[in-house]
Amino acid sequence: MNTVGLCTRAAFDQTQGACTLAATELMTLDELYEEFDFLPDWEDRCDFLIDLGMELPKLSSDEKIEPNRVHGCQSMVWLVTELDDSGDEPVLRVRANSDAMIVNGLIAVLLAIYDGKTPREVLDADAAEIFKRLELDRHLSSQRKNGLSGMVTRLRQLAAAAIVDLDQQAN
């Protein structure tokens, strides 16, 4: 994966001003929480999301095709998923992109929740609770919420299908 690193406050602090996170590391949920708690108001958090978004790994142009489009968002969003069974347990790999940086920032949050998780973990994750913790529920327009929940639904459907498939293979 050709991932651009995301610069978090944690990483930033450690290096006194220069971002040194390894290029393949995406933000974890805990890092997100920490960052949000540190940022005083919503505008700063948005700025942070935009920064995250500007550094989100890009999809290639042949991945930005109609079958990968997520509808119901105000901006263009493409979502690419695969079940990676190279490790101990199969995990969902999620990549997504929008043309809007603020949306890319929200995608980074989604990736923190879902990317690299087993199908069971995906189904267990309480996205609504996490959005609440990050106050995204309060500050996002209902349109954006719709767009996000469209993506969440898609990921959960994939996870559920994967579980059925895996169970069948197991039998």
């Binding site: 509808h71 119901g72 105000q74 327009s141 209902s142 349109q143 954006r144």
Partner: protein, 413 residues
Amino acid sequence: MKHLSETVLDVRNQFPIFDHPLPKGQPVTFLDTAASAQKPQTVIDREREVCERYYANAYRGVYRFGAMVDEELEASREAVRKLLGAESRDELAFTAGATMSLNVIANGWGRRHLQPGDEILLSVLEHHANFVPWQQVVAATGAKLRFIPLTPAGELDLSDPELFNNRTRIVAVTGMSNVLGTLPPLAELSQRAHAVGAILVVDAAQSLPHGPIDVVATGIDFLACSGHKLYGPTGVGILYGRKELLAETDPLIFGGHMIDQVHQDHSTWADPPARFEAGTLPIVQAIALRPALEFMESVGYEAMHAHELELTQAAHAQLAEIPGIQIYGPPPERKGSIVSFTMEGAAAEDIAHLLDRKGVFVRHGHHCTMPLHTWLGVPATVRASFGVYNNLDDVQRLADALRYVRQRLKLDT
């Protein structure tokens, strides 16, 4: 004459309409709440506040005012959800009024699901808004209307075992008659409808202003009501539909916001509730619906009911003393706060006209229930209906004014 509790006075004081006497110095005796309720100050102020402080179109802009409007609309939707005990806000669409909601249900669900020979069960009580749309659907689908007859007191006579049968697909009844005050037994209707695989549609335009309805506990599948009868603004109504049903309901009005994708040759629809909210919503009015519901809650539904019952009983008692008056419908204990009557020898129009001279505002006519008036055997009735702001003085003034009518029309000579 009994004195009103302080609470009732407080309630009345929240309605600025009563602050000013009529030109001749008479107090305003507003007895037409069933047609439309007066508005408490909080509702009026909220409308003004939206326009003065953060107005924008809804569900369209990310900017501050747009976001505030969206948030307020969703808060209002949530308040309605709570009032109805609905499971999700997505089951509630803002419409132009109960009439629009009922048309959406009849067209959107009825047309799509009815087959020739299917039956729609209505009561003879129905308002034209819960009658004519079904008549149209029947004409388009080959389904049939069947009517629940009334007992002599104007209550539903459910004794005919044929009423609910295996062709019954839809039972559509009013939660409260806008003429007789009759309160159909919704829970029983729901059970019997569901037992034969039919859905229950409730026209709650009249009933909701007198108390909350729990759609889940009662087993209601679709429900319609209007803001202006709920002490709220004109121009806004509510459509409730159980999630699975709303999902299989076609939109009636097409335009912005209700679409998912529009191509030159076809379009796809957004999920409910947006699917039923084409075009610009009655934004300010939908937002100001919330303070209306909060007002009702602050009065308390039990207090409201007790108060309205007292007024209805007083009206029955006082009108009984006036010669020639016949009141239609069930006794006060078994109906809502509506008193419809005729006076022998006096046309409804003359009565309404002469009461107006005394500052007593009642409605006359068929009240958009021609079939019911055919059943009653009178072309028109006079209707006095009470809201939470009325008091026993209003009842007294009604009775006094009716005596004046007799005198003016020389009925006692």
